[in-house]
Structure formats: structure tokens, C-alpha cells
Symmetry: C2
Subunit: 462 residues, 2 copies
């Protein structure tokens, strides 16, 4: 992976008053000097790191592209560990494009997704788990997701895995010792100690692996689909749920425009509503394609809120329910909407439906807000809860995979120990555990493919 | 207009790896010091202006909101002329929102649109025309619009009006002189000189006023609607026009996502295509509302491309043309599409339609690209051209209004002079001219209402 050329990218979002363009690499400062004209003739290469200069981007004298503020960072005291320049310019589409064109012409290549963070990792500024947390931090839109990403980025998360790795290395050393002296019949005494150590490590890896269920909920939220015939009140329900949540959202100007619609936050857990407009229970093939798309999106939901009307019969509702096919892993809640319109008969209908369908049934009124609290409380229980006594929560699918592999290997080692298999087989298993735990922080060798997959998920400019 | 409190706003756009939050005002540095924990315990208030510090936003020890880079600027050496702090943080929705909340809590008020630039103007960092150019510069998405805004922001534009104002003041002095000595019969000799001066000034103001037609085209582009029955090839035409232009658009990653779709650039002039999908020539009232909305959007177009098929008859096309109502100020071009399908008869149809409708008719093929160059050349002629010998181009509607008022007043003064009216009436007219020209740069007193109207068009954070 060659990274001795200089890269540049727009690091800020679309629109806005200010944009920042980042340049990193051995030629970052001379490249920017070709374009920058500092006030009082100041040049970038004569400046120390952590200097701020005001001037113009003026590749040809008199042809000012923009008035800019330039920050200079010198290797290794920068985000990437290389020489870096950050150009703060006006947020105009034309200026950003022209600046990128000029930087390109002057010798900087456009950066790929996550290329700045990749360089930070390769230059030893952070380990792999920390680098991955940078993308998570940028994507975080709730306090829970932010706190997990921040702990991971600042190294608290990696510390846990380093400690674990240390203990695994101790175990491996014990096994090596046993192998060396296996002729001398000392193994039985040590096997007991090894077994205890393995139990502890297996429990620890298991806890970390299981924390992913909660970590994934905190990081990605829970996808929910509201499903039902037209006019049963799906949109009214969504609006009522959103409205309840909206009161808790900050109203500070300049931040609200970023808030994603159709997400409700129940005690820190985000429920993301999937648009399922257009689901119909009809044999009409005319709209089949549109409905097919909706069905596909529905399969990505973890929770399905199936909305029926409290005025319908058990048979009607049951047959509609049977007409949609869901996955076994999807939690389905049956909602009897417009319960305020037939208060007398709703309770009986609810009981009958619970019996017939085996699903949890809640009678609500999206219009009056009746029982919406019961619904949100029920949704919250589906999120699970934070694992007890776990300081570190795994949020990353790659880490979960690595932990699953490590867990399989340590369980195998335990069985080998129980079956009195020889020490070298045990040592082989423990090496596997070590390898998988090591890939999380990048302490074990990582292939270019893995790095490519990790950083391609990043945004450009980071 | 009170501006001694401290303001804060997110200055960068949505998304992106980095966000920048700006804080300006007398308390900017102490407010940020409450939240910032610098590496090695460094505090902001001990630092000089143009300093860059690395550290954390950590209002409560151990609760890190983000790792940040902070730039410090000291009054008057900042954009606003006040103490300023720029916090460069990760571009997460949560972090931006939390930082704004913390700054608010620490005493900074959320900034209104353009409030930073308003302060720069009020603190004498720039005149009013320069302040207005900041918003134009940020909005610029073509080289032409950029160059005009940049010249205006850097003061070249204001120089023109200062020179003009100087000449008007000379004229006013001459008139005062005449008033003082009016008893002494010196006026006739001076009247000739005054007449010459007025002619020169009137011509100059007239030229500036007229430059607005071109300035407006460069700044805002020309809105174009493609209109016609379904399936005549409207989308194919738009795609063909866009595709021709796309080749000229830079392909540098990170910039293209900002490029606005459906804009074609013909020799520096932007033609902005208005979506008119759904226009039908039918009496069916079912879709009336949708069509009504399209019709409304159509009225905002300066140019209408009416697409018909070369296989239709003169009567069919003419009756469709008559069924849509356009404004007299709209240029309409009749396009005969699919000309490649009936090459023999198209020329005769074109001639007949030119005669019947009085409109320019171009036979094209959106599919093969036939005659598209003729169409773009014709569109370009509709844009007009840069006024000859004009260094300064007016792009601002407020400036155009002021120049129109100034022109009226100077023409009135000329008539007064011709009619041998007394010097004090002439002086009154010239005072009007001076006032209107002065409002452009803010040299004449500006009301809060006018300032409010100017800066409310800005984005937040600038």
C-alpha cells in the first residue's frame, strides 16, 4: 500500500459558509505554497507546525480564487502523522472545485475514502480499532453511539483487548513451558491452572461477543416498519410517535437541519422507521413492482408494527396478517388503531386476536395518543439492555466476527484440555484465539484486503 | 442594533468529516475556555491571536465530547473585528448539537443568518457592498459568478462607486459655489461645465445600471422550462444537453456531489432547467392540481423550450401551443424533435410553423444529437452579452434599485439645468443622486430595516 504521495480532499459537508480542504503527505507544504500568497509575503515552508496564516489562493498574481486561512502541521505532529495543510475557504461549489483542481495540478492526488485515517493508522498514530471509531464518531447522531465511539477512539476499548491479549500471551507461555517439559511429567499440575485461565478468558471473550447485540442497537438503532392497509392510520401513528419525541430534540438553529426525520429516540435507543407506503393486500398485479420494493424494504426491519382497525373482525385482521410474509427473526406487534371509536368491543377483539395470532396486541388511538406510551415502553423492551458489568461494548461487525472466531477457538481449546489432548494442539488453538483478538486492534497482521474493506466505508476527507 | 453579546454557529455544511463552529464577541475566548481543555493544560485566554491549539471539549473532566483543534483570533484582527474562536470538530450530528448546546449554556447566543458578516460591516471591516459579496461568493457555482463576487468582496466594485461619489461631491461643490455667488451673475459660465459633468455622470450611472441585465444572468443563470406532451422526448433532450455539458465538469472526487443537476453551462452562462414533468394537454380535471403546480413553476422560466414531434401537423402543434399560457417576457423556442424520423417533410413543417406561430423553430433529434449545437448557440444569444468597456458589473438587485433611483434623479437634474431652474433645486437633485449611490457601499446612512433585509438572506454561520 503505497502512501508516499500527497493527497487532498474537501473534508467538510455540502453547503455552509466555510469549507475546509485537507492536504497530507510529504509534498503538502510545497504544493500549497505554489497556490498560497500570505499576507506580508509569508510563505508556508518557513512556518512552524501549528501555525495559522491568512492570505489568498492566487496561483497567478492578481487572479484571486479566494481569501483563506491556512493551518500548517508538521510531521509527526498531525492527524495523519505526515506534513499537513488545512485550507479554510468560503463554502462555494465553484471555489471548492477550483481549489481541488489547482491542488491536483500542483501535485496532490484526490484522497480516497478514509485515506487520511488509513495513513494515521499506518503511521502508528492510532490502532485499527481507534481508526474505525473515527468513522463511527462522525456517523454518531445520539449520545449513546457517540459515547461508545469516543471511548473506542480514545483507546479505552483497545486497552481491554490489549489486556486480554496479555492474558492470552501468558497462557500461551504456560503452554509452551508445558510443551518443553512434557517429557518430565509436570503437566498435570499445570493443566488445572491452564483450565482455570481458559475458563476466565472464555467467559471474558463470551461477554464481549454478547455485548454486540446491545452495541449494535446503540450504534445503528432498531429498524421498524409500520405496515397495514391504506387508511388504517399508519402516517398518523408515525407522526404521533415523532411528535412525542420531537419535544426532546434541541431547537438550536443550525443543528436541526441535520436531524434525520422518522427516527424516534426512546430512552437513548433509536428506532428508525422504514417507509412502507404503498403496501396493499390485493391480487392486482398492476402495482406489483412498487409493492415488491416495499416488501423488500420490510424484510430489513427488526420490528413490524402491523396496524389494523379496531372495527374490523378477527377473521379480517387474521387473513390480512397471513397475506404478508415476514422473517422469523422479526418481532411483530399487532396494533388495533382507532380504539377510541369502539371502546366497548375493543377489549374482546384484543383478547380474541391474541389467542388466534399468538402476537402481542395493543389497542391504541394514534389520533388521541391513547396507549402510545404502552407501545413505546414495549418497543424499548425489544431493544434488550446493556450487558451487566461490561465496560466495553462491541459495536463493530468486524470485531464481533473476530470475537466469534476467538470464542470458537478457545472453546475448542477447552475441549482439547478436557480430552487430555497434547499441549501442541492446545497451543495451536490459543494461537488462533490470539490472532483473532489481535486483528481487532491491528496487533495481529492485517491484509490489504481487510484494510481496504474497513476504510472504503469512510467518507472522503477523513 | 445591539451586538455586544457573543454569538456561535455551525459554519460548515451538512455531513462531512469535519465541522467548524464559529464563536464571536467579547466573551468568545472565556466562553470557550469553560469547555476546552488544551494539551499540557493550555488555556485559550493566555494565547495570542492567530494561534492553533489541540485539545478536548471536556466541560466535565473525563467526559470528552470531542477532540478538537481551536483557532484563536483577537480583536480587531479577525473576520468580525471581534475576539473570535473557531472550533474544528468531527462532523457528527450529535457532536455539533452538543457543542452548540454547551456554548449556549456557557453564554453564547445562536447566531442569526449573516450575523458574523453584519458584525464585520458594523465594525468597519468591510463596506456594505463587500459584505453583500460574501454571500454571493459562497453561493457562486460558476467561474463568472465567482469572479464578479470576488471583485466585489475585495473592494474593486466599491472603488468604482467611491470614485463616482467623489465626482458627484465635486459637482455638488460646484453647485454650492454657484448658489453662494448666484447674485453675482457667474452662473452662465459654470452651467456649461455643470452640464458636461452631469452628462458624464448620467452616462456612467446609466452604464452601471444597464450592466445589471448581464450581471443578473451571470449570477443567477437563466431559468429554462422544457414543455410538451408526454413522450415527445423532453427527458431525452434534457439528458442530451446535460451530457454535452457534463464532459466539461471536473471529475475530482469530493466535489462532484455538490454539482447541481439539471444545469447546463453554455460558454460561462448557466441555464437552469425547471422540472415540468407532468404537463398534459387534457381537459381531465383529475390531475389538475399537479398540472397547476407545474404551470406555476413554468411562469418563473425566462425561456420556454416547447417540444413537439416532427411527425405532427401544423394544426396539432399550433393548438397545443395555444393551450398553454405564457408570459410576454418569456422567450419561446419551438423544437421539432425526432427530425431524424421524417427527414423529408421536416423542413416544410418548420417553415409552416414559423409562419403560423411567429416563433423561432429548430428541428432537432434529441436521440442522435442533430442540431443540438444550433439550439445551444441560440440559447446563448438569449443571454445577452457583457456590456462593452464596463469594468464593474452590477449583480445585486438592491444596487440596481439604488442606481435606477440615482439615474432618475440625475436625469431630473439635467432637465432642471436645461430649463434654467435655480441652483438650489439642482443641488437637491444631486443630493438624491449622492444618497442613492452612497447606499450601495453603506457610505450613506442605512436603516436597520435595510440591514435586516440584506443579512437575512445569508446562511447561518457567515
Amino acid at each position: 500500500m503505497q502512501h508516499n504521495h500527497t493527497i487532498a480532499a474537501v473534508a467538510t459537508g455540502e453547503g455552509g459558509a466555510i469549507s475546509v480542504i485537507r492536504v497530507s503527505g510529504p509534498e503538502a507544504i510545497p504544493i500549497c505554497d505554489k497556490l498560497f500568497l500570505g499576507v506580508n509575503g509569508r510563505e508556508l515552508h518557513t512556518q512552524e507546525g501549528y501555525t495559522l496564516l491568512y492570505g489568498t489562493i492566487e496561483p497567478v498574481e492578481g487572479e484571486v480564487v479566494d481569501d483563506v486561512l491556512v493551518s500548517i502541521f508538521r510531521c509527526p505532529f498531525s492527524f495523519t502523522g505526515e506534513d499537513m495543510v488545512e485550507i479554510s475557504c468560503h463554502g462555494s461549489t465553484y471555489i471548492k472545485q477550483e481549489l481541488m483542481r489547482l491542488l491536483n495540478e500542483a501535485g496532490a492526488k484526490p484522497a480516497g475514502p478514509g485515506e487520511f485515517t488509513l495513513r494515521a493508522f499506518l503511521n502508528g498514530k492510532m490502532d485499527l480499532a481507534q481508526a474505525e471509531a473515527v468513522a463511527d464518531l462522525i456517523a454518531s447522531d445520539s449520545r449513546g453511539a457517540h459515547d461508545l465511539a469516543m471511548n473506542q477512539m480514545r483507546g479505552g476499548y483497545s486497552d481491554e483487548f490489549r489486556t486480554l491479549r496479555g492474558q492470552l500471551l501468558d497462557l500461551a507461555a504456560l503452554l509452551e513451558l508445558e510443551l518443553d517439559f512434557s517429557e518430565e511429567d509436570v503437566e498435570f499440575a499445570d493443566r488445572l491452572k491452564i483450565g482455570e485461565l481458559m475458563d476466565q478468558l472464555s467467559a471474558r471473550i463470551g461477554r464481549l461477543k454478547e455485548s454486540y447485540a446491545w452495541g449494535n442497537v446503540i450504534k445503528n438503532g432498531i429498524p421498524v416498519a409500520i405496515v397495514g392497509s391504506p387508511n388504517v392510520g399508519k402516517s398518523t401513528l408515525l407522526n404521533a410517535l415523532l411528535k412525542e419525541d420531537k419535544a426532546m430534540v434541541s431547537d438550536i438553529p443550525g443543528t436541526t437541519r441535520d436531524v434525520i426525520e422518522d427516527v424516534i429516540n426512546i430512552r437513548g435507543v433509536q428506532f428508525r422507521f422504514i417507509d412502507t407506503a404503498g403496501i396493499r393486500y390485493t391480487d392486482d398485479t398492476l402495482e406489483a413492482m412498487g409493492i415488491e420494493r416495499t416488501r423488500k424494504r420490510m424484510t430489513t426491519a427488526s420490528v413490524i408494527l402491523f396496524v389494523a382497525e379496531a372495527t374490523e373482525t378477527v377473521q379480517e385482521i387474521d387473513s390480512k396478517l397471513k397475506s404478508i410474509d415476514w422473517q422469523p427473526r422479526q418481532h411483530t406487534i399487532l396494533l388495533l388503531n382507532k380504539a377510541d371509536k369502539s371502546p366497548g368491543s375493543t377489549e374482546a377483539l384484543k383478547k380474541a386476536l391474541e389467542e388466534t395470532t399468538g402476537l402481542p396486541v395493543i389497542a391504541i388511538s394514534a389520533r388521541t395518543g391513547e396507549n402510545l406510551e404502552e407501545l413505546t415502553a414495549y418497543l424499548y423492551t425489544l431493544a434488550g439492555s446493556a450487558p451487566e458489568g461490561a465496560d466495553v461494548i462491541v459495536t463493530n461487525a468486524r470485531h464481533f466476527e473476530a470475537l466469534s472466531e476467538a470464542y470458537r477457538a478457545i472453546e475448542q481449546a477447552k475441549t482439547a484440555l478436557e480430552n487430555q489432548l497434547s499441549g501442541d494442539l492446545l497451543a495451536e488453538d490459543i494461537r488462533h484465539v490470539l490472532h483473532h483478538v489481535g486483528t481487532i486492534t491491528g496487533d495481529a497482521p492485517t491484509t490489504e484486503d481487510v484494510l481496504g474493506a474497513i476504510f472504503s466505508r469512510f467518507c472522503i476527507g477523513k
